[in-house]
């Protein structure tokens, strides 16, 4: 199995880090830390230094709140994408948007990957990916409107629902011209899912990776971690890393995170345990 992002090619053993860089004043975790353009630029330099292969630039927080229209969203992300593309020619640039209009503008500015967190809400999004030979993330949200919270959602089998939806979207994207090697699937933990659903998706992530599509997971500091351990936002790193280790063991390929160095260590450790990455150094008992 192989997948391609930007000019790079990866196989089933890849464990890539997608570092979150929000161009928002109000996202749940960083609360505007990278709202100012130079703070955001610094953050990109930092995460690249820390080993992230991908940066994910987002202009709108996932939670409900003030309406941000396409024009404002473009103002927040397009020029920034262009600047980052200029400074980091080989960095894989992802943009977190559900809008095909925004996707078009950021792909023209140099973005490599469209991270559609809202499950294909805009049916034209794959056409944009196809036109620019960009990669696309297909997420499971059960068709809800962007920026809505779960309310009493129930599934007969959440994993079956997740796979049917994401693989269906992936096949559709390919039929619309997206390169088969440039499509990823993402169960979208907590999106139209309660904590039990997100835990079950994690527990059975091997069923997603067994589909053969590359899998992206976005776990970082989420509420399912918070509810499991009864910890507030800001105190969920350990729970997130535990989930990361399990997800890596079960085969997920891309990890969308706030904390890069810690995630890098977990992924490298799990790969070594799995036998797909040699230890960094071997001397003990071997002299």
């Amino acid at each position: 199995m192989r997948f391609r992002l930007g000019r790079q090619t990866f196989d089933e053993n890849a464990r890539l880090i997608m570092a979150i860089v929000n161009r928002t004043p109000d996202s749940f975790y960083d609360k505007g830390a990278t709202w100012a353009a130079d703070a955001a630029h610094e953050r990109v330099r930092q995460v690249v230094d820390e080993g992230a292969e991908i940066v994910d630039i987002g202009g709108i927080k996932a939670a409900p709140g003030a309406e941000i229209d396409a024009e404002e969203e473009k103002r927040r992300v397009v020029d920034f994408v262009a600047k980052i593309r200029d400074e980091f020619p080989d960095l894989i640039i992802s943009v977190d948007t559900w809008r095909s209009e925004v996707a078009r503008a950021v792909c023209a500015a140099g973005a490599d990957l469209i991270n559609d967190a809202w499950g294909g809400h805009d049916a034209r999004l794959p056409e944009v990916a196809a036109e620019f030979d960009a990669a696309l993330v297909c997420t499971h949200t059960g068709g809800v409107t962007p920026r809505t919270r779960p309310h009493r959602v129930e599934y007969d089998d959440v994993v079956v629902d997740v796979i049917a939806s994401t693989v269906g979207q992936a096949e559709r994207a390919v039929s619309l011209g997206v390169d088969r090697e440039r499509v990823l699937i993402d169960p979208a933990h907590d999106f139209n899912k309660n904590t039990l659903h997100s835990l079950e998706v994690t527990r059975r992530l091997d069923e997603m990776t067994a589909t053969g599509w590359p899998v992206l997971v976005s776990l970082s500091n989420k509420d399912f971690v918070g509810e499991t351990l009864d910890r507030p936002v800001g105190d969920r790193l350990v729970g997130t890393l535990a989930t990361t280790a399990i997800s890596a063991w079960l085969g997920a390929h891309v990890y969308r995170v706030h904390q890069v160095p810690e995630t890098r260590q977990v992924l490298d450790m799990v790969s070594a345990i799995a036998g797909t990455r040699p230890p960094s150094i071997l001397t003990r008992g071997l002299a």
Binding site: G65, G142, H151, R152, E154, T195, L196, D230
Partner: protein
């Protein structure tokens, strides 16, 4: 003949399947069970059956059956009720004709019934609510609470179905079934026992019994 009515919320948290190590819905569940027990005790030995009245999602993703039915059955079990139970379920968006037909049919029954109406108000009562904040939620919920407080079926019938749907007041149809049943049944007294919105969803516990 409907002898008593109890109204309870439909929160999934009330079900054992959705309880973690802590049980934040415990006090609410106890309140509902207590309301059911008191209603049954108001005329002991004179009830033939319970009818759970609730709404359902017209396009469910699950075959588990309507949430309100499962909540109603569980609250009855917690209350220790051993009477036979029937379920009357209308779509959340049931129209005026449907709620009237269903309510009138209940009122016309000859067996002695306790109606357990499993229904909620708006889910858009705060920025953190599941449905976020819609200022129109408060007017809709105030109308529901006043109707329950004053034993006023007409006020429930005055709820605008479209507005109720927009503010995610999923209990509108079930409450209007209650209203049609109650206005055809003389002699109800009682009122609202408790209301609250700890999660931005309007919960109400009410009991109406026929005064002797």
């Amino acid at each position: 003949m409907i002898q008593a009515v109890v109204v309870c919320p439909s929160a999934p948290m009330l079900l054992p399947d959705y309880v973690g190590l802590q049980d934040p819905a415990g006090p609410l569940r106890d309140r509902c069970a207590e309301a059911i027990r008191s209603a049954l005790d108001s005329a002991p030995g004179t009830f033939d059956r319970i009818v759970v009245v609730t709404g359902r999602d017209p396009s469910p993703r699950t075959r588990k059956g309507p949430l309100g039915v499962r909540v109603g059955d569980h609250l009855l079990a917690v209350a220790g009720c051993t009477l036979p139970v029937e379920h009357v379920v209308v779509p959340f968006d049931a129209d005026a004709e449907t709620v009237e037909q269903v309510g009138a049919a209940l009122a016309a029954r000859e067996d002695r019934l306790l109606l357990l109406v499993v229904a909620d108000g708006s889910a858009r009562r705060s920025e953190k609510a599941p449905g976020h904040l819609d200022e129109r939620a408060f007017g809709v919920d105030d109308q529901i609470l006043e109707a329950l407080r004053n034993v006023d079926p007409e006020r429930l019938l005055g709820l605008d179905a479209g507005l109720a749907a927009e503010v995610l007041a999923s209990g509108r149809a079930a409450l209007q079934v209650l209203a049609h049943a109650a206005r055809r049944t003389p002699g109800f007294g009682g009122g609202l026992l408790w209301s609250g919105d700890p999660y931005g969803v309007m919960y109400a516990v009410a009991a109406w019994t026929r005064i002797r």
